[in-house]
């Protein structure tokens, strides 16, 4: 029999329903995998007792014929989602000891469907980063190795690096992430997992520690496109507690995986052909175009004239919103308190000690661009550029149904690289950030290996609330790529 941790989520679901194994057996297999891969530092908190209790309850429901869509499936959750009674850190010192008295809407939806919590995964502090190196709990190691230097510690990308590494290493069947500028799609590409960022508003943000509220969106990491479709259906839906969550029906996304993309128009944005783009990435992009064309899609050249301004606009909008959102960490209501003689001194001491360097940098930038005299020049200007970027996409949809681009400008890099220069790190999100500014859905699909044996991903972007078409084309891309390689440091 195949090792249980090698089954995809849909296979495990079907196996549970046909009683090939139990939810407790499947969960035990994953708890063992989680233990064996501790060197990756993918989890901040493991919840084995809770997992087994949940799995036992799942087995009862399976026996009673009362199974949810994710019944008995062991899943990891980015430690940015509040989980009732379970330590929730956002990978920050400032949330020391915080056990939320409530459950986030998206995780509630998963438990309602019978999913089993394995633990809370590591991330960049407050989801600010692209390499999972800003975590107070230490960096995550990518289970993939550079074959020319196998002992070298590579990053899994970020900010949802722990979730990506866990799914890639088979220490979780699927995982939750969040994507503010690429924090699902970029680590998915660097770990050969499928990463899906839904349309802004598709999933409730209630109970997810806020970074940049107009950009944040919840999404899944899985090993197949079908698994992502199953996860998203369970996660999504309107929530009265998040007024930005959309009152729009959640379709059965799995049903859209027809394998048929004949006549679908795929746009290739010429502005994504960056100067100095790695020849390997470019070749993979060309290969992706050929795959979709061979499957019957029509390839269309499109232009997104303001794409090059997306990153600088993001680095005003996101820090501005973050500086406001993170004002709540004041040492009064939860987490760390560092004493001071006055209230102001207590605030400053707590935040000075509780926030790491990158979070401080972004809160300071955000405070600066919102401060008197600079608001119009920076913040308002960035919001106007954002409007232009969104307009570019609306124009593109006149001539195409989806866009195909590389997911990242490079493969996984060393844990010691790009650490001294914030701007170099920010460039990781150059291909992903436009979708957050425009609120669009996107998927990263594993598509190939580079010359060092490291995975690379292709990204598809779609129209608002047209996730079904993304799953359909993503499935075709996945089948054409036939990616079967596995990481060296898997469980």
């Amino acid at each position: 029999m195949t090792d249980l941790i090698d089954l995809s989520l849909s296979e495990a679901r079907d196996g549970l329903r046909s009683k090939d194994f139990t939810a407790v057996e499947l969960t035990r297999a994953y708890l063992g995998a989680m233990e064996r891969s501790r060197e990756l530092n993918a989890y901040i908190t493991e919840t084995p007792d809770k997992a087994l209790t949940m799995a036992e309850a799942s087995d009862k429901r399976l026996a009673a014929g009362d199974a949810g869509t994710l019944e008995g499936l062991p899943i990891a959750v980015k430690d940015l989602y509040c989980t009732e009674g379970v330590l929730t850190t956002a990978a920050s010192h400032i949330l020391d000891g915080f056990k939320p008295p409530y459950e986030s809407t998206v995780t509630s939806n998963l438990w309602r469907e019978g999913a089993v919590l394995l633990g809370k995964t590591n991330l960049d502090e407050f989801a600010m980063g692209s390499s999972n190196t800003t975590s107070y709990y230490g960096p995550v190691r990518n289970p993939w190795q550079d074959k020319t230097a196998p002992s070298r510690h590579l990053v899994p990308g970020g900010s949802s690096g722990g979730s990506a590494a866990a799914v890639a290493a088979r220490s979780a069947l699927a995982a939750l992430g969040t994507d503010t500028g690429g924090s699902i799609r970029q680590p998915a590409a660097l770990t050969a997992t499928v990463g899906f960022k839904p349309t802004y508003g598709r999933c409730s943000r209630w109970g997810i520690v806020a970074f940049a509220s107009s950009l944040d969106q919840a999404g899944p990491f899985t090993r197949t496109v079908r698994d992502a479709a199953i996860m998203l259906r369970a996660m999504a839906g309107h929530d009265p507690k998040d007024s930005t969550s959309a009152k729009i029906e959640v379709p059965n996304f799995e049903a859209s995986l027809t394998g048929d993309i004949k006549g679908l128009r795929i746009g290739i944005p010429k502005e994504y052909r960056l100067e100095g783009l790695s020849p390997e990435i470019d070749a993979l992009w060309q290969q992706g175009i050929t795959w979709l064309k061979d499957a019957g899609a029509e390839i269309v050249d499109v232009s997104l004239p303001h794409a090059k301004y997306a990153l600088p606009a993001y680095y005003i909008v996101a820090p501005a919103e973050a500086s406001s959102n993170l004002a709540r960490y004041d040492g009064v209501r939860y987490g760390l308190r560092v004493p001071g003689k006055t209230l102001d001194e207590m605030y400053a001491n707590t935040r000075g000690e509780g926030f790491g360097d990158e979070v401080q940098r972004r809160v300071l930038i955000g405070t600066y661009v919102l401060s008197a005299g600079y608001y119009d020049a920076y913040y308002l200007k960035a919001q106007k550029v954002r409007a232009r970027i969104a307009e570019d996409f609306r124009s593109a949809w006149n001539s195409c149904d989806l866009l195909l681009t590389p997911a990242t400008p490079t493969a996984a890099f060393g844990v010691d690289e790009k650490q001294d220069d914030p701007l170099q790190m920010y460039l990781n999100d150059v291909f992903t950030v436009t979708a957050n500014l425009a609120g669009l859905p996107g998927i990263s699909v594993p598509a190939g290996l580079d010359s060092k044996g490291l995975p690379l991903g292709l990204q598809l972007l779609g129209r608002p609330f047209d996730e079904g078409t993304l799953f359909r084309a993503g499935g075709v891309l996945e089948e054409a790529a036939a990616f079967t390689a596995q990481p060296g440091l898997r469980a």
Binding site: F98, K99, P100, P101, Y200, G201, S214, S243, T244, A246, H306, Y309, P312, A313, Y315, I316, S323, D330, G331, V332, R333, Y334, G335, R337, P339, G340, T342, L343, D344, E345, M346, Y347, A348, N349, R351, G352, Q360, R361, V363, L364, I365, T367, Y368, S371, Y378, L380, A382, Q383, K384, V385, R386, A387, R388, A390, P422, L423, N436, L437, G439, P464
Partner: protein, 95 residues
Amino acid sequence: MTIDRQTVAKVAHLARIKVAEDRLDSLAMELDEIVAWVEQLGEVDTDGVRPMASATDMVAAWRDDVITDGGYADRVVANAPDPQGDFYTVPKVVE
């Protein structure tokens, strides 16, 4: 240079983050580099463009003005660093 050590000190005070004196210069350099980079947005013609504050065009939803939650102060203060009864505490603010 737009951002010098005095600017960093001022912004850090506004953000209520204690920054050590010996970090002011390096932070000023880093922040200045980031701000210089975002200045390229000036190249974009945005005359007459309405600022985009939200990723969707949705209109804020109305709801009935009724209480739907609450009544458990003990749970609300359960995570507070130094609660007293059902109250948060802060250093003395009134002389």
